[in-house]
Symmetry: C2
């Protein structure tokens, strides 16, 4: 049976281990040995390895489930030990990671599953989180077809839907669909909630379930979002422009008192949301 190693046992790494149960031999490593032991005790792993080197040596395929800067660092530091394993990762930005892999001569095909929650840590794992999710498969130019297929096969084991993209296409896409929504959501949370203390209780009372959902992703890890945005700055700024244009258009309709025009734009947004949801796995619908 294929030996798949998960390096980094946070929320997404542990969710991957849980979802892979029965389809391969699962090896894992965490910088905190007690997390590896916990994962074995709870049936998430067949084996917890003591070092990254040992993990890489035993694995047919290694998945780096680490923060972006650590993925880049490990592709450099452990490149010599990666010669007998195919390597993939789950980082949210692909260009910088692909460059690190190529520069260090690692046999690498990137991936990015479009799944997650605002929570982090092994205890927040979600079994089945990848089911029905899109996963972008990002092979560096010239990657071997067999390697690409092997990474696609990993994601099919957890019922995700692979789609191939170049790293440039990927990074611009997720700037629009994920990175800008996080920035906008945070700006909204700040403008509504970060008011002088004597106004706070009233503001808090005025926020209900609609607001809660709109700002949910703004409660994600600040460090992770710093890392994502700092590695995708140009694409995020370009995507911010597209968003700001649509926002300015809605604001102008309100300022001009053109509320029929506003209704039409809002209805277009609703229509597109419903069209999008009709293409998704039921768990992505509401």
């Amino acid at each position: 049976m294929e030996k798949i190693a998960v390096v980094g046992l946070g929320m997404l790494g542990c969710s991957l281990c849980a979802s892979l149960e029965g389809s391969c031999v699962r090896l894992g490593w965490s910088r905190r040995p007690e997390v590896g032991q916990w994962a074995v005790r709870n049936g998430l792993l067949e084996e917890a390895c003591a070092t990254v080197e040992e993990t890489l040596a035993k694995a047919d395929l290694t998945v780096l489930c680490l923060p972006i800067p650590v993925i880049m660092e490990y592709l450099h530091r452990y490149a010599p030990q990666m010669k007998d394993t195919l390597v993939t990762d789950i980082g949210s930005v692909k260009g910088c990671i692909e460059r690190a892999a190529v520069e260090n001569g690692v046999r690498f095909v990137g991936s990015h599953p479009m799944a997650g929650t605002e929570k982090s840590g092994p205890e927040s794992l979600v079994r089945g989180i990848y089911e029905g999710a899109s996963v972008f498969i990002v092979p560096p130019p010239g990657a071997a077809e067999a390697d690409i297929a092997q990474v696609e096969s990993l994601w099919r084991k957890v019922k995700a839907k692979p789609r191939r993209l170049s790293s440039q296409e990927h990074d611009l896409l997720v700037a629009n669909t994920s990175h800008v929504p996080h920035v906008v959501s945070s700006a909204l949370a700040l403008s509504v909630l970060d008011v002088p203390e004597n106004e706070r209780a009233l503001r808090f009372d005025g926020c209900a379930s609609g607001f809660r959902d709109t700002v949910r992703v703004a409660a994600s890890s600040p460090r992770m979002w710093k890392e994502i945005l700092s590695h995708n700055r140009e694409a995020v700024l370009a995507a911010m422009e597209s968003y700001e244009e649509r926002c300015a258009k809605l604001k102008k309709l309100i300022a001009d008192g053109d509320f029929d025009g506003f209704e039409k734009e809002f209805a277009r947004g609703k229509e597109m949301i419903e069209l999008w949801q009709s293409t998704k796995h039921p768990k992505f619908r509401r």
Copy 2:
């Protein structure tokens, strides 16, 4: 037992009827008689009345659960029939409704429960939707204390938490906490999803559960949002400015490459969301 009439049997009206069960005699009226009959058959009402006039004549307290323009119209048209009932409403903007009530000499205290979903229609009712929700009680200047207390008592029956505000305070508050979030959410949905048809499939694949939640409220009724914003234009434009300032600040940090500064701002947003959630009923948390 107090006779409470619900005029308008949409999602919020039917949810109110369901939540009031056992605490009063419930009368109701819908412009579609079959909805009134359905509500009686399903135990949402003790009695469905044939006309608005009949409903008003029988009720101690009448709750107008109608679109804003219809509430304003009814306060004008049925003012003579409202002389023996106290009237309240659930409209999302209070200034325009208060003016209509005062101009027509109706015994009126406004209310606005901070509860809802993106769905509409009687079949979308949610029993208990008002439980734990803030409800703003908006008495016109000079309203009788007994009338205010009677409306507060209505909302306590469904376990909502009443808080008194002037209509001006209310309309500025909800511009920030609800109206602008809807505009921003719609702008985001449009910028991400409303792309040329040949780019659509890729965009759709790039959107996951975080995006879904951020745009959920943008799938609300376009006509309702046209009505809300057109009656709260000034306050919404002022609140848009506050939002745009915070958004521009985040964008500038990204453009300047000040990612430590970005992390700090994002962390402040997360902190405020968590502080806000700690003050709310568990159902408003995630």
